[in-house]
Symmetry: C2
Subunit: 392 residues, 2 copies
């Protein structure tokens, strides 16, 4: 039994692109540890990244090697295209013990498969490549030169294939349904956690045609005074009347994300708050109207900033980030950001979450848009209208 | 507005214990980066750990310093007991940029607050303390000696207070409800993702008296042939008749966990499979019957192993692990494990997930028990009967 979400040809094309970049970086081996990158290159998909695991890509050997915990090896057989001889499991004595470390095991495999290895790339800033993982790795390979190759695979992932965009569209459909349920359920007197329950239910159920997955992150929901916070966790308090709620969520389809935020006002919003919403929407439109191949990230931000500063509003945090495959803890790809100084050029197949959230001194508002760049401009990944939602 | 889940006295007691351990390790400063440890010591609770953040504990300064992203500072004000002057936010130019790193900012704060600092403890193997975080930190503090202090706070967390155990009991109540819903919904023809939807809904709703939170991990559900895998992600396939499903879940209350696994058989289980279930339950009982203060972890494993080897069954992976507060990606505390060679002695207030899962060549079975050690033996954190669940 095999479950592959892409053709073997697509995996091989991805691998070839990674090897091309490895060549220009002078890497003999790339030790891929970021779960999204492992999934992208091999298909491997399990909740096993709380223990040490890696996909070792060799410049001189065709297939990469999966190295992970023994009990997770069956999942490597099911979810990757790799033949049995490329799966290298380590025993449980390497798990959470002070005197042994799985980096030693990984180093042994690399040196056995490629005894003349000279330069090894590692993903220095990737989540789950801990300081200790690296220190043990360096100790176990004293004659090797290590080079930071963080984001090497992430940048290959930056441009999505048609199949990837199709999955992101499905993720967006799930996102729409999640938000619809949130708006239906949320009301004064309802507990925050019961809104979350409805969101999660819609997220996993997906549609009649396809199911969903948990996203990298819980719904970020800031109710009332907590609308000033971007990443609070919901509580079991009841929603107040005459209050706002910021809700940031993402549907997930086969690990692909399409996030969205909306703000709900319970009661009649004051004119001042309605004006704030109009300005945010105006700023987003100014930015989106520019989107097309050839434009760069900071130009999108500039369009937003000009619009907002005319109203005296400043957003300190970046305006958006690249999206695609993601594992916890973040649905951002950590490559391009929509911000001043980022001159990454847009091309068809790149995707962003335009995260126009404002967390102000006394309130907050979050109306956002995920999109993929197409020849003609952009395709919205969610079709929920960009507006302040009022439940009066 | 402040939301504190414990008394300020309890936070201060925890801090004192950490400082005692810091003294015996010769640490002037401990840079706490593991989200569970930050929460334990300060109350800080936000989904912000995908960017660099730390709680710096100084031996010579009373209150720790929270250092994190500017937009998350309001959450530090709401969820910690720390006064304003202990909150140090960094601007967004430090977020996901190649040429700047927030470790530099953290180093500056530490050197400013305690210019004569000599020895700094860091959590080398903690999730989210990446190789790059550490490398930048070392570069920014060239005159300081770094010492690995991973698990220092985790070991202080090992023994739970009465209030902590009360929260874990609530988590266990939620776990029971989640499993009840899973068993109600799961049936041949039902999609796996719809079982997940029901589980998640129960998880967030909690009870009438208190709400739940997402756990560190999705439900681990292995259906049919995939019952051989411990950590697969569910799909949108329909459940087959005459098949098994392993379901591992955890309720979560204010970040405290109480996990549980059960196996459901759809149809009439063959006698061989019934026998397997009886043996697992016999092994768990043998182990649980030994639990009391003074006994050590490997003795619990030995009781299980003796029972199982009499039936010719061997479990390669460890039999369990310490539980309590947890953030994604794992609900294990990474301290004591129930396994051969672990001589950690039980005492009242320590808690474990006895994870008696078997993932065999052709099938799998997972019947487990979370418990807290009390004077008289143990208290079960979930009361769901330990048995094979049959839906015929």
């Amino acid at each position: 039994m095999r479950i592959l979400n892409f053709s073997v040809d697509e995996y091989k094309l991805r691998l070839r692109r990674v090897k091309d970049r490895m060549r220009s970086e002078g890497l003999d081996v790339l030790v891929v540890t970021e779960p999204a990158n492992i999934y992208y290159l091999s298909g491997y998909d399990a909740w096993s990244f709380y223990t040490v695991q890696a996909l070792a890509v060799f410049q001189e050997i065709e297939s990469p090697r999966w190295i992970g915990r023994l009990i997770d090896a069956p999942t490597a057989h099911v979810t990757t295209y790799l033949p049995e001889e490329c799966i290298f499991p380590y025993p449980d004595i390497y798990v959470h013990t002070p005197d042994r470390h799985a980096s030693q095991f990984i180093a042994d495999i690399i040196l056995r498969e490629s005894p003349s290895v000279k330069v090894v790339g590692v993903e220095m800033g990737a989540h789950y490549y801990t300081a200790r993982d690296h220190a043990e790795f360096v100790k176990a390979m004293p004659n090797v030169r290590f080079k930071d190759a963080e984001l090497l695979v992430n940048w290959v992932r930056f441009v999505k294939s048609d199949q990837e965009v199709a999955y992101m569209r499905q993720a967006g459909e799930i996102t729409e349904r999640m938000m619809k349920r949130a708006v239906e359920v949320a009301a004064p007197g309802v507990r925050e956690c019961d809104v979350a329950a409805a969101i999660y239910h819609a997220q996993m159920s997906g549609t009649e045609a396809f199911g969903g997955l948990p996203a990298t992150s819980p719904p970020h929901m800031g109710f009332g005074a907590r609308a000033r916070e971007p990443h609070p966790i919901f509580t079991d308090r009841s929603i107040d009347s005459s209050s706002v709620a910021n809700i940031e969520i993402s549907g997930c389809r086969l690990r692909y994300h399409a996030p969205m935020s909306r703000t709900i006002y319970f009661g009649k919003p004051p004119q001042r708050y309605r004006d704030l919403a109009s300005r945010v929407i105006e700023g987003i439109d100014a930015s989106l109207n520019l989107v097309r191949p050839g434009v760069n990230c900071e130009e999108l931000e500039l369009a937003w900033r000009k619009t907002m500063s005319a109203h005296g509003i400043e957003k300190e945090s970046r305006l958006g980030y690249s999206i695609g495959i993601a594992y916890t803890p973040t649905w951002g790809e950590r490559t391009a950001s929509i911000r001043r100084g980022d001159r990454t050029v847009l091309e068809p197949g790149v995707a962003f979450h335009l995260m126009a959230g404002l967390w102000l001194k006394d309130t907050g508002i979050t109306i956002t848009q995920s999109f993929v760049v197409i020849e003609a401009g952009y395709e919205a990944l969610t079709r929920t209208p960009r507006e302040l939602i009022v439940k009066d």
